[in-house]
């Protein structure tokens, strides 16, 4: 049991090393962001906000048509390959941890964050595999995953062990697994929303100067897909994540009912799960409210993700909650 746990820990460190290399590659992709030729007329929505879908269809994908010496693109491809390699190591780390503890590998906060980080990488790679041109998301996703693993190793680590009686339930497998999967999608959604806000600011007439600017970050942002495209992908990702999060809350309520005799008791964890749910519900409603699409909706998505992270970590550290036993 101890041996496998040690192997798992070694794999986590190896994955971190490879993620770090991937991060360097993605940083290079930003530094080598190509100077675009000025052909903005076709893509700019004119309004400065989110253009209508009719415009975006013809907008095309600026990633494809970028003019550069290809170094940025090569760096992105190397970043993706390294991320995929790190992902495999990460999967192996989670699997060996599961074998070491002989149960679902999310019985404490270390295991939970470890698996959640895996879900974030998986969401990124899955979006790529499904043909979405979101290679640029690695620039946000990989540092986030690396940070999460760093917190795992430095703060949250606990040796492999059995569960406390309160967690011995098959609902642990269902409830937490769904929360983890939705967390991966929410992470991707938050990254898209963040880039949308950065991109949207650059969609003003200044866009032209940004694309030819000396500042690599501004150039990189300027060559991202236009805000409406980011908005559409973000909406799809959230539309996938929201039912999962809903199910995570419902299965949590069912478990609470079996464990404590009440399905909803306004425990701190439940309160923040509710707040997160309401904020994401507001995001989806904002997507169909005039004047709220695009920027405002993206802000809501980011607030929702902050609430989600706060519920994940903050509640355990700052509030007394029935959920506080999760390894802290």
């Amino acid at each position: 049991m101890g041996d496998l746990a040690d192997i798992s820990y070694g794999l986590v460190l190896s994955a971190m090393a490879v993620y770090a290399c991937a991060m360097v590659a993605f940083a290079a992709s930003v530094a080598f962001a190509p100077r675009r030729r000025v052909e903005v007329a076709a893509t700019a929505g004119g309004s400065g906000g989110v253009a209508s879908p009719a415009v975006e269809v013809r907008g095309g994908d600026p990633l494809e048509g970028s003019e550069g010496d290809g170094r940025g693109e090569r760096a992105t491809r190397i970043g993706i390959s390294l991320t995929a390699l790190a992902f495999l190591l990460h999967v192996a780390a989670v699997v060996t941890r599961a074998l070491a503890v002989e149960r679902a590998p999310w019985g404490n906060l270390y295991e939970f964050v470890l698996t959640m980080a895996l879900a974030a990488t998986a969401a990124y790679l899955l979006l790529l595999a499904r043909g979405h041109r979101v290679a640029f998301l690695g620039v946000v996703t990989v540092p986030f995953v690396l940070l999460a693993l760093g917190v795992c190793v430095a703060v949250l680590y606990v040796d492999a062990g059995d569960l406390v009686p309160a967690l011995k339930s098959y609902w642990l497998v269902i409830h937490v697994a769904v929360a983890i999967v939705s967390s991966g999608a929410l992470m991707a959604g938050a990254a898209l929303s963040l880039l949308l806000l950065a991109r949207d600011g650059g969609d003003d007439p200044g866009d032209v100067s940004a694309a030819t600017d000396g500042n690599a970050v501004r150039r990189w942002i300027a060559q991202l897909p236009p805000a409406p495209v980011l908005d559409r992908v973000a909406h799809q990702v959230h539309a996938f994540a929201f039912p999962l999060w809903t199910f995570a809350v419902i299965s949590g309520a069912i478990w609470a009912e079996r464990a404590w005799g009440r399905y909803w008791g306004w425990d701190a964890k439940e309160v923040w799960a509710f707040i997160t749910w309401v904020v994401y519900a507001a995001y989806l409603h904002a997507q169909s409210t005039a004047g709220w699409r695009g920027r405002r909706a993206a802000v809501l998505a980011l607030i929702g993700f902050v609430c989600f992270l706060f519920n994940l970590l903050g509640v355990n550290f700052w509030f007394t909650s029935l959920h506080s036993y999760a390894g802290v």
Binding site: S52, P53, D162, P165, F242, I250, G261, A281, L284, S288
Partner: protein, 530 residues
């Protein structure tokens, strides 16, 4: 309005733009305007955000319905702020007028959206797919092709193809086919919103008719489910005493096991209560553990806590036994260091009080003094101090775990407070011949929670319907397709296929091309031109 603006995105319940207030101030006009404002999407959105913000204080301040003792503790520690916070309902956030008002307005807004849309959707589902617009090439997706068959034959095949693709199909004119699918999206959307109301009703039923009771039972002790025997009992506003069926539960044994390995040393591994129960439907033996409740007569019994109850015998000046029994001590840390008090009101000449802590596995730390180093009872010790005087037990609700020493004097020996560490069987004599206290042995106690919520099945149904509505409302694509076959100049037939999506739909173009290919009678897209 452009065709692409029609896109009704997921969860949209807004009927129309609320517009500006009426110029003439008729009461009915204002009412209609206010109603339109309330049911507008923007209002719903703001109410949602307000609800999220208003829920936050409930996680910051202790809540009375979650932990009454924590609220009392907060009141003691923040004497200045407490009355103000109390006035703002900070300790009953989820029952507060402002929180209730927000969610009731939200549900009212929801009803105002959903009901008209239900009517609208009902009509839309029964209506035939609308006839094609005159100029199909203006639609966002449009494909043309030419074939040699007659327009009638092509239209007939188009209808068959679209039916096979699970469209609802109509033939508004010869050579024209109109098709529509994805009404399930709106059905799901409406179901989702209506199911939220079901959950609200279920929660209301639970808070009106349910109850939750907590009772501490020492090993070999029992409790009967009556109002008097619960330590705390929270009943709904319309609770009927007859719902409290007097079943009984006897705790025979409580098995515990703690981690003894180096990793997570002392973490709990097993809490199992072996009980005998008797209800109106019979009797039996059962095992109750966390995640493993016992159901008796529709109420369920949970193990929610446990600890140690040292047995004490107290004798007063005359040598008469004035107190004998198990006294639950409250666990304070992971090693089950527990605190508690013994109140002996019948002692002569004055009542006695003992304050102390219990150490299941005692050890001596040079800096911190006596501590517990393992949560199981391996080397149990009780450390006690003694008081004499008025217990201030005037019948008001008072914690059984604290001693009010304001009107008592501490017993001393040779000028220092009397204090002794007792092993099971040991006795501490009180100075001045006041008597003695004996630590006989230690038992475990279990905190049982008994809960009955008549709304829980309805809540589960509502939750499942929420999910059942949410999935199609986000995943189903609502779209219309039209096919028009007209005789061409060269005697061949020109086929036009066009599509319009009412939602975000990045596959509409692919589907239009696929349908066009199948209507042309082959899957070779080279014969088409866009």
């Amino acid at each position: 309005m452009r065709v692409t603006d029609v896109a009704d995105r997921a969860l949209d319940t807004s009927p129309e733009d609320p517009g500006t207030p009426p110029q003439s101030l008729g009461a009915a006009g204002w009412g209609r305007w206010a109603w339109r404002q309330l049911t507008s999407m923007r209002t719903a959105l703001l109410l949602l955000l307000l609800l999220a913000v208003l829920a936050v204080p409930g996680s910051v301040f202790p809540q009375r319905r979650v932990d009454r003792a924590a609220v009392a503790d907060f009141a003691r520690r923040h004497e200045d702020a407490y009355p103000w916070l109390e006035r703002l309902w900070a300790f009953d956030v989820y029952a507060s007028p402002w929180f209730s008002a927000t969610y009731l307005l939200l549900f009212l807004s929801l009803l105002g959206c959903v009901v008209p849309r239900m009517r609208q959707h009902w009509r839309a589902m029964r209506a035939r797919p609308p006839a094609p617009p005159r100029r199909l090439e203006r639609l966002p997706e449009h494909v043309t092709a030419t074939v040699s068959e007659t327009p009638a034959a092509v239209a007939e095949r188009a209808a068959a193809v679209l039916r096979a693709e699970r469209y609802r199909v109509a033939v508004p004119a010869p050579g024209e086919v109109a098709a529509e699918k994805g009404h399930l999206r709106e059905t799901g959307n409406l179901l989702f919103h209506a199911s939220l109301l079901v959950i609200l009703v279920a929660m209301a039923i639970g808070s009106m008719r349910g109850f939750t009771g907590n009772v501490v039972v020492v090993e070999r002790g029992f409790f009967v489910s009556t109002r008097a025997s619960y330590d705390t009992l929270r009943t709904g506003t319309h609770f009927d005493e007859r719902d409290l069926i007097p079943f009984s539960v006897q705790l025979d044994r409580f098995r515990v096991r703690y981690e003894e390995g180096p990793s997570q040393f002392g973490a709990p591994r097993e809490f199992t209560a072996e009980v005998r129960w008797q209800g109106s439907e019979g009797r039996g033996r059962a095992v109750v553990a966390p995640n493993q409740p016992l159901t008796i007569d529709g109420a369920r019994v949970f193990v929610t806590g446990n600890g140690y109850a040292p047995h004490f015998t107290v004798r007063d000046r005359s040598g008469e036994v004035v107190y004998e029994g198990a006294t639950p001590f409250l666990p304070r840390d992971g090693m089950n260091t527990s605190t508690g008090v013994v109140k002996v009101a019948d002692a002569q000449p004055e009542p006695l009080g003992f304050e102390g802590f219990f150490l299941p596995t005692a050890a001596f730390d040079p800096e911190r003094g006596p501590i517990s180093i393992f949560p199981d009872a391996r080397l149990p010790r009780v450390v006690l101090t003694a008081w004499q005087g008025d217990l201030a037990d005037d019948g008001r609700a008072q914690s059984v775990f604290t001693l009010d020493t304001s009107r008592m004097t501490q017993l001393e020996r040779n000028g220092t407070p009397l204090r002794a560490s007792l092993a099971p069987g040991e006795t501490m004599k009180l100075p001045g011949g006041l008597g003695s206290i004996t630590f006989d042995r230690v038992s475990r106690f279990v905190n049982f929670q008994v809960a009955h919520d008549p709304g829980r099945r309805l809540a589960l149904l509502g939750a499942l319907l929420v999910l059942g509505g949410l999935l199609p409302s986000l995943l189903v694509r609502r779209r219309r397709l039209w096919v028009r076959a007209t005789p061409g100049a060269d005697g061949r037939t020109v086929i036009e296929v066009a599509g319009l999506s009412r939602t975000e739909d990045d596959r509409l173009g692919d589907d239009v091309r696929r349908v066009a290919a199948r209507v042309c009678g082959d899957d070779d897209p080279s014969r088409q031109r866009e």
